[in-house]
């Protein structure tokens, strides 16, 4: 069920990207989709009653959660912030050229 909830967030993001007409809303849609995927990946790695996969002096043989999806999520988070910084740079530049964020008015290219 939790998997599906994360997928619902994903779909909301997809809807936002497809249906909205504002550049920044589209960007936010992409960010929401990335959040959803990160959430999904961490959910995949959780074990009932597990603890964080960090060995400290007291704990030797504990039930650790899966560290691999967490490493994947760390990478994915960095990639998402990189994408965000770059796409916002493009948005600002487009605003400078067209003076609007409305995608229906930004249509010099056809098709």
């Amino acid at each position: 069920m939790l998997f599906f909830l994360s997928f619902v967030v994903f779909l909301i993001g997809l809807y936002c990207v497809v249906a909205k007409k504002n550049l920044l809303k589209i960007v936010m849609g992409i960010v929401i989709m990335e959040y959803a995927v990160n959430f999904f990946l961490v959910l995949l790695g959780y074990r009932m009653g597990g603890v964080a996969p960090i060995i400290t002096k007291g704990i030797k043989e504990a039930k650790f959660v899966d560290p691999l999806p967490q490493a994947m999520v760390l990478t994915a988070i960095v990639i998402s912030i990189a994408t965000l910084a770059f796409i916002v740079a493009i948005c600002i530049r487009i605003y400078q050229r067209y003076h609007t964020f409305d995608i229906t008015e930004i249509k010099r290219l056809k098709g």
Partner: protein
């Protein structure tokens, strides 16, 4: 409403004073996080961003001019490339020393000590420098860019 609108002259005296006190601990915390990446949660990336955010705070509080004196954009870009090169050369050193790309060629040391885990702390330092420099550079670029150029 928009903190970046008055980025030219900076914010009020209250913000400036608090920022002055809070910036050194933030940087220290970033350094701690980078160095303890192999023992506690955190590592090169969050540590680097924390250090960059200290400079971002300076920029927001004091305005672009003051912050740019502390760390210029070209310097930040330079740091970024250097950090990336450190990480890449660690990987290449693996070939030179042991014959495999990304071989962890340093001794592992005692577990749970700060000097352990082979090249992981060094890699964390490289990433930290790279991320800190890069994030601050991109922030300055975004902040300096004028949407409505003065004519």
């Amino acid at each position: 409403m928009n903190p970046l609108k008055n980025a030219e002259k900076g914010m009020t005296i209250i913000v400036k004073t608090i920022a002055k006190f809070i910036v050194p601990p933030i940087i220290l915390f970033g350094v701690y996080m980078i160095l303890h990446g192999h023992l506690t949660p955190g590592g090169g990336f969050p540590g680097g961003v924390i250090m960059a955010s200290a400079f971002i705070l300076l920029t927001l509080a004091f305005g672009k001019e003051v912050a740019s004196q502390k760390l210029r954009r070209s310097t930040a870009s330079l740091l970024e490339s250097t950090g990336a090169l450190i990480f890449l050369s660690l990987a290449l050193l693996g070939i030179v020393v042991g014959g495999w790309f990304f071989l962890n060629f340093l001794p592992k040391g005692h577990p749970l000590k700060i000097l352990s885990a082979g090249f992981i702390p060094l890699a964390n330092i490289g990433i930290g420098i790279k991320v800190g420099g890069g994030i601050f550079a991109v922030f300055l670029t975004l902040a300096i860019f004028r949407v409505f150029p003065k004519k």
